[in-house]
Symmetry: C2
Subunit: 363 residues, 2 copies
């Protein structure tokens, strides 16, 4: 028994020793004592996008929504250098995006009112190692700065600490964003495949629309299932954006879309519900099977949305919605937006969504 | 002795068994019996971009130039499905690009005269596994197609086989490109960080300029060293493009640029030598140390190129050269072009390089 305790204690010591910043020139602050934005609710684990225990979810949904996807920590500091120490789950990564996107960080700093990309937090390249430490930005000029660090898009984050110079101050910043727009969707909304977390289309739209943008993208999912209805009905927001046609077959859309909207509208009487037509997949240019599936889902979305919009007010269908461009250069794999596809999508959606918000008196 | 031979034989059997396609519905053809384009010379290992044994190189350069960076295999087939089986070295990957880019493939198919992206070959997600197999595109219509499969950007490729339907034909296609433009440079030229091999700026320029574009980008390198001079002098091309200022300090540029050009011009009397100004790094917007280094190297490039162009004909300095854009959205990490940065660079460089080629009678 003593031996077991001794082993347990030694394991604990090792675990603690492993999960501490090695850079002793900086002082570290637990991110959960700063401000975490883009959470669906202010509940659950601080670095998980959703309080998954609140809902009846599949194991896959629990795993996905326990990730830090879309979250950012905001703070004010006068440090010239900013680093981070973070611990993610350790597992093999997807092949269609960078490790920095899946398990790394990026930092934006406010400059003349705009959020400007300032650096990345590169994770370890060994996928079996979950402890990471990196200097996000260094050698900056003097003065206070407002900072926003985006968290990994495809990882659970066990802990995150922000490091600043030992003589610097760091304090929580209130959320810099005025609105709250919740995004529900597929792997594309989950962020695949931007180069880094803050470059995802949902994060970029958040900065462009002055909105917190909680991200409920679930890779391979959003087939209009009940748990998405449950979460949306349980969530207050200025608007909801739905990428619900990317993984739904035509049959699923025919069967589920009307009730999906009806049930959400029953709870949220006036909130704008904005549906995005899915992409016209590059992969379908040569693959006739993929083309047919894609054409069918797009057609089902069109007829389904026509019916929905005839019966419910404040429901919008942006068609096109997610944009690749016509040059076959907008995806990483024929399906998932790369940074060019994200750029085109954000350029297109920003004024469209602004106009809808304005119509609803959300300025 | 017998035992040793037995072990050696059994290892060989294992190795052979491991490195064979598992998809028995397709027939496989060794890519080296088809046409490999974008090699610096028709020499050396078939799937290495350079015959490294020809030069005095550092270990790092041998490793880098033994990779398949920039290579593509071209063929004609009437198969409705195309797959690939390939074996790369097995090691941890870089964190600022996708596995598909580093060790995967992508395929383009000619459509109305244009090369159109058709699909990817996803590698294994376990970085310790080097054997990969994937269906690049499937369920296509009937008829003959001209195909181009780009090889991994940051891997040695031991073997590559192209799979087609058992009843289909497949044959080598002559190089579809008229010109040969050799690119020498840094990690940016090495491809970091496009989403997949055929999306790199060098590959995209090849398609846009109707040119084979051998890629001599070396991550962290091209500091105007002698071995780049040796390789360029030993290589025939319609033009050379140099990304030589991305990793060179101002001091290196001051010390080496003039002789670099002089030595190349002594061998290639009239060949256009096109130098690209390096990017204005996003990382330098807040990092004053990075900004100074970047400003200094850019200034040294400007003064060095002015001197060079005064003394040598047919030497060009494109300034700007590599393009990020002004919105801080063109890189994956503040330095390396993402797919948006690649797009901007290719849109900008294509007419500039065309104009230079035309001036030299290369049409």
């Amino acid at each position: 028994m003593k031996k077991i305790i001794a082993i347990a204690v030694s394991l604990l010591v090792v675990a603690t020793a492993v999960a501490a910043p090695k850079n002793t020139k900086m002082k570290y602050v637990d991110a959960s004592t700063l401000t975490i934005i883009n959470k669906v609710h202010n509940a659950g684990k601080p670095l998980a996008r959703l309080d998954v225990e609140r809902y009846k979810l599949t194991k896959s949904a629990i795993n996905a929504f326990s990730q830090s996807t879309g979250l950012a920590v905001v703070f004010r500091t006068n440090s010239k250098n900013i680093s981070a120490h973070w611990v993610t789950d350790a597992r093999y990564m997807g092949t269609n995006s960078s490790a920095t996107f899946q398990r790394g960080l990026d930092i934006f700093i406010r400059h003349n009112g705009e959020w400007v990309f300032a650096g990345v937090g590169r994770p370890k390249s060994n996928p079996r190692v979950g402890e990471h430490e990196f200097t996000l930005v260094r050698r900056m000029d003097e003065g206070e700065k407002e900072c926003m660090v985006y968290l990994p898009m495809f990882s659970r984050v066990e802990s995150l600490s922000i490091g600043v110079d030992k003589d610097a101050t760091i304090e929580a910043l209130p959320s810099p964003f005025k609105h709250k727009i919740v995004f529900v969707g597929s792997s594309i909304t989950h962020g695949a495949s931007a180069g880094r977390p803050g470059a995802s289309y949902v994060a970029a739209l958040g900065r462009a629309l002055n909105a917190e943008t909680p991200n409920l993208g679930h890779s391979g999912q959003c087939k209009l299932q009940q748990h998405f209805v449950d979460i949306v009905c349980d969530t207050e927001a200025d608007a909801f954006v739905f990428d619900t046609f990317s993984n739904s077959t035509d049959k699923i859309i025919d069967a589920r879309l009307y009730d999906f909207v009806k049930d959400i509208r029953a709870k949220h009487k006036d909130t704008p519900l904005i549906f995005l037509q899915t992409i016209k997949r590059d992969i379908g240019f040569f693959d006739l099977g993929a083309r047919k599936r894609n054409d069918d889902q797009r057609a089902a979305a069109e007829r389904g949305m026509a019916k929905v919009m005839a019966d419910f007010k404040g429901v919008y269908f942006l068609n096109p919605g997610l944009i690749l461009g016509d040059d076959h250069a907008g995806t990483i794999d024929g399906t998932h937006l790369n940074d060019l596809g994200v750029y085109r999508t954000v350029q297109y959606l920003t004024p469209k969504i602004k106009k809808i918000l304005k119509k609803h008196g959300i300025k």
